[in-house]
Amino acid sequence: MSNSGYVPNLPNKPLWLLAELTYACPLQCPYCSNPLEFAKYKNELSTDDWKRVLREARKMGAAQLGFSGGEPLVRQDLEELIAEARQLGFYTNLITSGLGMDEKRIKAFKDAGLDHIQVSFQASNEEMNNLIAGTDAFQHKLEMARLVKKYDYEMVLCFVLHRQNIDQIRDVLDLTVKLQADYVELATTQYYGWAYHNREHLLPTREQLQRAEPVAHEFQERLKGKMRIFYVVPDYYEVRPKACMNGWGAVFLTIAPDGTALPCHAARQLPGMEFPNVRQHSVEWIWNQSPDFNRFRGFEWMKEPCRSCPEKEKDFGGCRCQAYMLTGDAANADPVCDKSPHHHVITDVIDRAARIAAGRESVARPILFRNPKNSRALLEAEAKQPETPQPA
């Protein structure tokens, strides 16, 4: 999504298919955007189910395919799915932490026709990385980054930045230069799922951003023509929301590991929705007919201030999930927007991040690593007392 180059006036087609093959993952990133309750969804789609989904989506005009998760490498049929996707004409992207990869597999992916690999990193140095990732993964990742190049892929590295590692941005970029990366995404944490739960630990302060940005620009300038660096300010620090997913049900289709179809990978948490499942419905029906995919299409559903806003065609009122999480109503404006009457929830969180970073206040709860045990514990707690977002 970082550099979506889609022609904006294309007819309504699910151009981008995100196949979340599994929620299983050897890492435990506290900024993971998977749903907190992922441990609940055990019933993964079979190889044949996925092949059918790929065929149906392709027939509807899907051209881009991302294999993600969880960690897609956990699926032993990944090679087979890549081959099928490529044969159907998809541009195939693998979004991976690199764990579970070895030379044999990368060669098999190449032979199957995989077009592109993105390796995600947690930080620039071993301790931080192991701390953030909760496992001893770093050396292996460096090795994988090198292998990607050896097999004639662009080396595309993604670093998720947050309060705990953003001050190391220079180390991160030095490392990418050493690795001779082609493209580096300095991704800002998106506060969904686990990241939302851990937000007080993760949201960088304004000062941190003010220090980080010139460093990113310095490297961009210095490496022009050699390495592309993509850097964005977290949306919490903006006054206009992101055009989330290019609009609800506009180009993006996510299929979760259990076959649930979502207009955005974070949408699962929205109340009052029963997202359709590819086990029961065709992709065609889901995209064109299902009530949930039509729910926030167009502009009719909007409330003020979006409804009469001249900018609504630019940002579609922002992110439905963020609106729900932060205001209690998914049809509200994304409170990142400073026209939103709820915008103060964002500035409050930013102010609190500053006080926490300065040691004047402490976080309400310890950082929670994303793993099945914690997920089950949250499910049990929720069974006793449902956790609902606090309307502002």
């Binding site: 999504m1 970082s2 550099n3 979506s4 180059g5 889609y6 022609v7 294309l10 087609k13 151009l15 981008w16 509807m60 005009g61 051209a63 881009q64 004409g89 541009y91 992207n93 077009d115 592109h116 993105q118 004639d152 892929y153 662009e154 595309v156």
Partner: protein
């Protein structure tokens, strides 16, 4: 749609003997749903107009620009296209769709 004529090439990279190839990570294919040739790249798609597609389809990393031009002339007899092809090569280079193959 990335319109070839919108971009002004800055230099002259391609001569008659240059052998252009599509860059790593980009793929040219006929896209039924769009009813045109497209270049696919990570997370994006560029739709090509007919003349761009005719040239791009002939870029295979073995044919030189001169060979591509004569091939096009066979396919479209009587069309004066040398300059257009050279101009296209520069634009496609600027757009990072193609690179000249290093001389052996």
């Amino acid at each position: 749609m990335a319109e070839a004529k919108e971009i002004k090439p800055t230099g002259k990279v391609y001569g008659a003997d240059s052998v252009p190839q599509i860059v790593r990570g980009k793929r040219l294919q006929w896209e039924e749903a769009q009813n045109c040739w497209v270049i696919l790249y990570p997370e994006g798609m560029i739709k090509l107009n007919n003349s761009s597609a005719e040239i791009m389809r002939r870029i295979d990393g073995t044919r030189s620009v001169a060979e591509i031009i004569s091939d096009l002339k066979r396919a479209f007899p009587g069309v004066e296209l040398d300059n257009d092809v050279y101009a296209f090569m520069e634009v496609a280079h600027e757009q990072q769709w193609i690179r000249p193959k290093p001389a052996q």
